[in-house]
């Protein structure tokens, strides 16, 4: 299953709530302001890092670039995808949910 998140959360409670709702083996796709969550050293990145054994985290490259987050600033073990990669994820996952 594919989960899409387009906004960022930096307080631990909303990040934990999101991660608790994502099942094992699922993929989390971060787009728009959601990409801020993979910024190395942020509270959100620390929480995401602890969940990486259970889920795959993908982030949209153009949204990172627009917000000035360089490849070096992206936390480890995150997959950076372009628009085409995002389309592939949407095609490969029968069930998709966008968190608002």
């Amino acid at each position: 299953m594919l989960h899409i998140m387009n906004h960022a959360a930096f307080d631990s409670a909303p990040v934990d709530r999101l991660l608790s709702r994502i099942g094992e083996g699922h993929t989390l796709m971060l787009i728009e302001n959601g990409v801020y969550m993979v910024k190395r050293g942020s509270v959100a990145a620390e929480r995401l890092e602890r969940s990486l054994s259970d889920l795959t985290v993908c982030v949209l490259a153009p949204d990172l670039a627009a917000r000035g987050i360089t490849a070096a600033e992206v936390m480890a073990r995150v997959t950076v995808v372009d628009f085409g990669g995002f389309v592939d994820l949407a095609v490969d996952n029968a069930v998709i949910h966008s968190w608002i």
């Binding site: 930096f10 302001n33 801020y36 910024k39 190395r40 942020s42 949204d63 670039a65 917000r67 360089t70």
Partner: protein
């Protein structure tokens, strides 16, 4: 008749750039206020600190440039850009990640800072 009085304005910005139009509209209002000779300061809280993150390339998502507006503040006599320390740290950011020199203050002093202005505009 008396001339226009000068007031101390504080613009509190809490939203990230590019995801919404909040920042663009707040900056339009801010520059207009400054152009009318008012004393204008800016306070960046929460995701608002991302407004002045270095290296933004908004053309990658066909979005408008926002960061350069902050670099034009000097021309408009906007002298104080204040950033909350905790907001930076929670987001993995440091002064060196920012486009311009700013004053940083701790969260516990935000209330007192806001209170010493005549008008507060939030976005």
């Amino acid at each position: 008749m008396t001339g226009p009085t000068k007031k101390k304005f504080l613009f509190v910005m809490q939203e990230a750039p590019h995801g919404s139009c909040y920042a663009q509209e707040a900056l339009d209002l801010l520059l207009t206020t400054a152009a009318f000779g008012q004393e204008v300061s800016v306070l960046l809280l929460d995701d608002g600190v991302f407004l002045i993150k270095k290296g933004q390339q908004p053309d990658r998502i066909d979005s408008k440039e926002i960061a350069p507006v902050f670099l034009s503040f000097e021309i408009y006599d906007v002298r104080r850009v204040i950033v909350e320390q905790e907001s930076l740290h929670e987001r993995g950011l440091d002064q060196k990640d920012l486009l311009l020199p700013v004053e940083t203050i701790p969260r516990c002093r935000i209330g007192a800072l806001i209170a010493c202005h005549d008008r507060v505009v939030n976005s």
